[in-house]
Symmetry: C2
Subunit: 392 residues, 2 copies
């Protein structure tokens, strides 16, 4: 643990909407579970007279009977938005409520959380498909809804109740994503996410994105999280009480097979080793999240600023690995560094190519403070020539 | 018309995803209607065996019987996603398909298009509520889906078939939005949109955003559109054939009552009249849309860059008017100018205050090219002190 604590300053905090939003909404929390009261209120909207249909041809059951112990954890109102029977809310008219499918649900005996999204017109890039930032945003959204729906949520986003009591938060240290194909405007994607142990004091969160229509897996992603004290900013072991909360949700499944994963260290670029440096990148007010930090998805845009523009236009970003080192606030001017990865010629380095063929380009990146050159994120990307013959 | 044509260079093009995406998807278009084939394919997914339920207690009808003439316009597959009976797709298991509520539908005899959205975690700002950019993105998305679902869509986003034949596109000249209250993460909002004539050669598009739970109207917006030839970039009259296409959808209703609307000209700021100038704003690759233009919603972020940071933090943006003057590509460096509006002391200028009380602050803005100072957007904003006692 000493070595982890020593790294405190080089780990980014979880830059997600903050600790305050849920405050004041915990009135309905009980020993049996917790869910923000406003969502519960929504269920009784209109005529206050909804039945709950469990599975195909199931007999409607009252809301009360579905509360209880699932996965060994007592859950309360949260089960309304997902339990092992994939319950959907249907009102007496037979119409589904918008939010019953707009929010996610648990599947596979509550080990996997699933949510569908439509790719919106403003989430696509110049090539008319969803951007990498869009995918990462959707992964973040699914992860947060997973925690909220699990009934474990404390008063901070992503933190459990036992963590909140101890002022602990999850911080992400690494994300790796492999994109087989990017979707277009109007396409529906289905995202599965689950968690598992990562060593003694870490948690792994994986995701799979499917094309809803074809059920083809088009994206795989994995991430590593550790626990930090939000006041001392020091890393912490996972307390036993927290482990007992999350353990029932752990699923020993890998979105990316071990031999396909990118677990290699990312080299640190310097002024000497960087081929391209873009300076003067200024976070905008609109890049800030609820904690006045830069949302970690925004880093992707800055990293790509030092990639040659013809690459951005002519190649698909098929793999990306981010190693978070330090948090960033609005006042910091940033620099983006990029270099072609020299070892690309070596065939053994192609294992993290998402489409199982040799990437056409591989880059190493560094995003750092302009003033003191302190590291914020290291990254590695792989690119493949766009297939011109594919339908748009 | 001469005066409009003379203004060609000072009108922004509709910077929305472009002309190519729909190409190749028109195979199913018939004289009776048109809908992108991939969405039709989705309906037959899984078991290809869906019934269509029309209204409460209605007898299931076959898909074929709902095609026909509505609002005087023949519509085909598009009616699957919305017609005057608010048809919802229900599959044989009784589960609703995700996309049946993820996409929108027509209501009020097909004059109004309605879509619901959940505010996502990454769409909220430092104050933990949806940002102005998020609202504008959702308005854009609803408008585009309205056109697509109407069965009128040609091969360009927002353009009708008769417009596409003539290489005509819609361009927005002005948007005015009044925000009563911003929603939080997880809230469901319901957006209504409709169109009407605006003078002889323009179209007005209005929107209303409701809090889905309370049905309270929380945002109102109105916009003006004219037709431009996409090759000559000159403004055009509305051809009779186009008028016949859109006329059946016109609804003489105003989201913002005339006396509450902001229709006043926005003064042009100069180096002499601007109190604050932020230079060196560089559009990023990720700010580009499918036409390699800057998406017009992105302008909002740059406009706000020259607003004092304490205003961004302590005040709510309750009203915004944008006057689009010229399009912007990635290579252009931008400057953002802001000034307090001097006439604020005059009570008669408060009519466009969205919450019907005097705004605490009013600003005039200009976004222009840094090199030649050419105007891109003029804007006017109104701000009210955040109500500290409100629940988050």
């Amino acid at each position: 643990m000493a070595s982890m604590a020593a790294r405190t300053n080089s780990i980014a905090t979880l830059r997600l909407p903050g600790d305050v939003l849920m405050a004041g909404k915990n009135e309905t929390a009980t020993k049996l579970g917790f869910y923000p009261s406003r969502r519960v209120a929504m269920i009784t909207r209109k005529n206050g007279n909804f039945s709950v249909r469990a599975g195909a041809g199931g007999t409607p059951r009252s809301v009360e009977t579905i509360n209880g112990k699932i996965n060994g954890v007592h859950v309360g109102e949260a089960t309304l938005f997902g339990n092992k029977n994939s319950i959907e809310l249907i009102n007496d008219d037979g119409d589904s409520l918008p939010h019953s499918s707009l929010h996610g649900k648990f599947v596979e005996e509550r080990f996997v959380y699933r949510q569908t999204f439509v790719i919106r017109s403003y989430e696509i890039g110049p090539d008319k498909t969803a951007t990498m930032e869009t995918l990462m945003n959707l992964l973040q959204e699914t992860a947060l809804n997973h925690v909220t729906s699990s009934g474990l949520a404390g008063n901070g986003f992503g933190a459990t109740r036992e963590m909140s009591i101890r002022k602990l938060i999850w911080v992400v240290t690494r994300i790796h994503i492999q994109v087989q194909r990017y979707n277009s405007w109007g396409d529906v994607v289905e995202i599965d996410t689950w968690v598992d142990a990562a060593g003694k004091n870490g948690m792994r969160r994986d995701w799979i994105i499917r094309d809803y229509q074809t059920q083809e897996i088009i994206t795989r992603a994995t991430s590593t999280w550790v626990i930090m004290n939000r006041e001392t900013r020091r890393l912490s072991k996972i307390p036993d009480q927290v482990r007992q909360e999350v353990l029932p949700f752990y699923l020993n499944r890998f979105a990316i097979a071990k031999e396909k994963n990118d677990s290699e260290k990312i080299d640190k670029l310097t002024d000497d080793t960087a081929e391209r440096i873009t300076s003067g990148l200024a976070p905008r007010w609109s890049d800030m999240d609820a904690n006045q930090h830069v949302n970690n998805v925004k880093y992707i845009g800055w990293i790509l600023e030092s990639v040659p523009i013809n690459v951005l236009g002519d190649y698909d970003l098929t793999s990306m690995t981010l190693e978070y080192r330090r948090e960033c606030r609005q006042s910091n001017l940033l620099e983006s560094l990029t270099s072609t990865t020299s070892s690309l010629a070596d065939d053994s380095n192609c294992k993290n190519n998402s489409i199982n063929r040799r990437p056409d380009l591989e880059y190493t990146h560094l995003l750092r403070m302009q003033a003191d050159k302190a590291e914020i994120v290291r990254a590695r990307t792989e690119w493949n020539t766009k297939q011109k013959d594919k339908l748009h």
